[in-house]
Symmetry: C2
Subunit: 457 residues, 2 copies
């Protein structure tokens, strides 16, 4: 059997694999901040060199934003495309990190060893599990078990502005039998999850201007319109008292969960109380008649992700600011149309503007929800392979985050995607002190080796 | 007559006086930010040396915060205390300044020459008008026309935490027949104003915490409470649809304006339209049944002066933050009790907290409104003297800002205060590109010389 020596090699090579991951983690490839553009290029270059080291014909391709990395290697089995992203989230508030986010460390914790730093999970740690599985396979067998196209982007955390044009222009280069995406999580730490539903995302930034300059609230307060007052009144109207989003038409294309799927999810025995307790909460927010798992996997939501206006430094300043702004995201499900909702949201905001106020909007991405077809035999093969590696059998599940690329692959390349990943709920991705369990990294590599083995047969 | 040569000397000495002001303006004495503490000390030292240069027995006195400057000089007339503050507001947003805020310049503008920089008006430019009047008087006559105590603090822009204890401990050192305060403005640019009503100020900072760490909105959004959502809902409730403040009991001790005073104000012919147009507005905010002048001088208000939460940098980050905070100020009138209102505000906020949320409050000052008695003969003397200097006769007026020290002088030293000042509505105090008209500086110095002359007789 060809799998066992690969798994053994993965086990014995773990320290070296971790050191390779650390090299990539040390590159601060924050895509959303233009000051970090050269680091994004460095991360792309690093990946090209690493792919070449395992015999992949790889190169980085310029885009209007950060470069794409594309690689090809031949093999006997089916043709898969593996997608990941090398860019990471910003690190602020920096003062909440216990260590430099770009100086990764292995830490002993009560729950086991973890790799700590920005990108350890999202998505550098996850994408390297696939590369390391390929490296071990190549080292043992001299070739890979499938024909593989590698495709890494560097703009996932900033809305992937270059992605769709690139997919359109390079459809023939990228199309495969199936896409593999490693950017998701285990189900409650012990159960590998194969994602069949992903929420979409609409990102909007609104800036409200009232007076044409900052004013002294003693000179103008009361008499002049305060844009923070306008903004908070609008945002306060986003949800009604039952937690339902108030933007007109928001729920128009939101389906109820099919009974069969609801029953499958019910059978997973999600522990709602400990899910909330993990982050210091005890009461679910959101729509009052929905469970947290329903809210996360099958309901659309609205959240303010950032708000700023006026004086926010130390002490106090009685300023009446000229403008105030907020970043608002909507997670979308079913057939909700992000472009239609953007129009509806903007009209709804404008309708609430008092006299003398202006509003401007910035677009931070719009992608619909995705629903995976599980018809491809790889889904059943992966379910069996993952059930061999992990303590609990693998589950088909939903996912609260948005991985728009899965939908784009379907739309622009007519290619289904299979999403698996090894993250845990407490990995603090997008937050200070992001981590990835060493177990996630190790068993993740082993899981990919098993999936490749299962797919080739 | 002793006044004319003093006025002539003021005219001929204007360039040198401006250069002395520039020296003080170049010291970035921002009191609210601990990083600038040494500059506050430098500004205090500079004032001590400048007072000594005109024969004042002056020194700086340490306080728990920034130092106090106290000086005494004997003279034949009544005993006055002159108060000013050498600290300035922070300068952010720095990118909105056309020049370095601490590199003052004289600029030609369509409305005449202006001095541009932080503190040019508030309060360095204003306090230097008094010092320069004294300097000219001393140079012409070898002594000053009144017995004068000089008192400058360095914490006015950060709530004056050391002021009341200092007044209590040094009551005998500071008590005079009347306090003179130069920290206010002309009435609509041409009419000198002697302030008889000042609003009080309550400053509160509220911080709402929900989850115990920042979360990914894809993982938790919808299911976990978002503190920005809680904060915006509470702040949106601050005002009702008619612009009235909703904190319980807020209007309990707010008197209607006496008819006589209302008639006096009416006679001033305040140009509401151009007051608003000056800052790009056309509709008054605030209580719907009040004019802007009423709102500014005689009505209490609430304003959010700063709000921040989540990701506020470039681009987008789908974070669900752990906390969000806002700085809220209330301008107070009549007999409104700031401590009672603080309790009421905090209880009102707490009553709106959903489960799982915590709130903390920080206190940024609490001072009641002040009403000046105009019984002291200096008020009539100053009204005549100012009417000689300026194009329009001087008016007794209200003032929208808060100068708590006037109330403290009454409470702790049993001393009335007379407030005059030479600022203009478009001076952008507390904002980028603060300025002080060269005319304000020049005629301000001449005005003080006239007031001193009028008071001694």
């Amino acid at each position: 059997m060809s799998l066992d020596p690969v798994l053994s090699r993965i086990d014995s090579d773990l320290d070296a694999a971790t050191e390779r991951l650390f090299e990539l983690l040390r590159i601060p490839s924050i895509s959303t901040d233009p000051d970090f553009a050269e680091h994004c290029q460095s991360a792309a270059d690093w990946l090209v060199a690493d792919l070449q080291s395992i015999g992949v014909d790889a190169r980085s391709v310029q885009s209007p934003g950060h470069p794409m990395v594309v690689g090809h290697v031949d093999g006997p089995g089916p043709h898969v495309l593996f997608y990941g992203h090398y860019d990471v989230q910003p690190v602020d508030p920096l003062e909440l990190w216990d260590n430099d986010p770009f100086d990764p460390q292995i830490e002993d914790t009560p729950k086991g060893k973890v790799i700590r730093g920005r990108g350890t999970n999202d998505d550098k740690g996850q994408l390297m599990t696939f590369l390391e599985a390929c490296r071990a396979w190549k080292a043992e067998h001299g070739s890979l078990p499938c024909k593989i196209t590698f495709f890494f982007e560097g703009e996932e955390e900033s809305g992937s502005p270059s992605l769709i044009p690139f997919l359109k222009e390079n459809a023939d280069l990228l199309r495969a039998d199936l896409a593999l995406i490693c950017d998701t999580a285990l189900f409650q730490s012990r159960t590998p999850a194969i994602i069949t539903m992903l929420r979409g995302l609409l990102g909007e930034e609104i800036t409200i201007t009232a007076p044409d300059k900052d004013l002294h609230s003693g000179m103008y307060g009361g008499a002049a319109m305060n844009p923070i007052r306008v903004l908070t009144r609008i945002l306060a109207n986003l949800h009604d008292d039952e937690g339902r989003v108030q933007v007109p038409g928001f729920y128009d294309d939101v389906p109820e969960l099919p009974e069969e799927l609801a029953a499958q999810w019910q059978a997973l025995g999600f522990d709602h109380a400990s899910f909330l307790a993990e982050v210091g909460l005890s009461h679910p927010a959101g729509e009052v008649d929905r469970t947290p798992l329903e809210m996360l996997w099958s309901r659309p939501t609205a959240d303010v992700n950032g708000i700023v206006g006026g004086y926010t430094g130390e002490g106090f300043k009685t300023v009446l600011p000229s403008k105030a702004s907020a970043k608002v995201s909507f997670r979308l499900v079913g057939q909700q149309d992000p472009l239609k909702l953007r129009d509806s949201f903007r009209a709804w905001v404008r309708a609430q503007l008092p006299p003398d106020c202006d509003v401007t909007f910035a677009d931070h991405g719009a992608s619909p929800a995705s629903h995976m077809s599980t018809d491809h035999p790889a889904f059943e093969a992966a379910r069996r392979a993952l059930s061999d590696e992990w303590p609990e059998p693998a589950a088909f599940s939903g996912f609260g985050g948005s991985i728009p690329v899965a939908g784009y692959f379907k739309t622009y390349l007519d290619m289904d995607a299979m999403l698996v990943g090894w993250g845990k709920d407490d990995d603090q991705i997008h937050s200070p002190n992001e981590k990835y369990d060493l177990e996630s990294f190790h068993k993740g590599i082993r899981s990919w080796a098993r999936i490749l083995e299962a797919m080739k047969s």
